[in-house]
Amino acid sequence: MTYFSRAVLLFICGIVQIFFSAHLLFDWNILDLPSDLMFIPGILVLLTWAILSLDYHFGNKDSKVALYDEYIADRFYKLGAAGYSITGLGLFGLFAIQDYSAWSLETANAFILNLSAFFWFVFGSLIVIFSYGDYKESVDG
């Protein structure tokens, strides 16, 4: 694994999350995606996690000390913290704007879809920003 391949892996993972979440949030019908394809971002997250974990444990020893050092770990923690803070605020907002007087199974279903789409959107965007920044820093910084 190199900085470039990691950036590409994370970028794809993030951009797919953004695409699927935008599809849900803004009712895009560009590709006429059936709802049973919505598992794809989740599968990609699991695959990315598996590839990075395997590389961390069994990858080239010389490259992994640089790729997974404490500075990067600190970045990942900050990324996670930012994601949870934003989604927490979003969760509060989404709960606040619901019309509970007209609550039904349909509105609850739409609410859950919006909620999951918002979570994918936030974490997808953060992963894309991280992948770009991480690679750029490895070249320039």
């Binding site: 000390v65 640089a66 790729l67 050092d69 404490e70 500075y71 990067i72 600190d74 820093e137 490895s138 910084g141």
Partner: protein
């Protein structure tokens, strides 16, 4: 990304240059990425105790030679000098 700790004075760049070591070779010696060394030198990231000791060992100095607090940021620091 901003400074991680505004009270910290990082003297790593100076010490590293005195030792005639590049960021890349220091990074290789302490087993981190070059950008981590760069981030530490620019005050963007404050290293762990273990990494600070590793860097000090490679540069043949003490951790206090690499990192110190601005004068007056910690009153006990100046107080403790009375008892030296």
């Amino acid at each position: 990304m901003g400074k991680d700790h505004k009270d910290l004075v990082v003297l790593l760049t100076q010490k590293r240059k005195e030792a005639g070591i590049t960021q890349a070779s220091l990074a290789e010696a302490v087993q981190v990425s070059r950008k981590s060394i760069n981030a530490i030198e620019n005050g963007i990231y404050v290293p762990s105790t273990v990494l600070a000791i590793k860097i000090a060992t490679v540069l043949n100095c003490s951790v206090e030679d690499l990192f110190k607090l601005h004068d007056g940021t910690f009153p006990l620091l100046t107080e403790s000098k009375k008892y030296d």
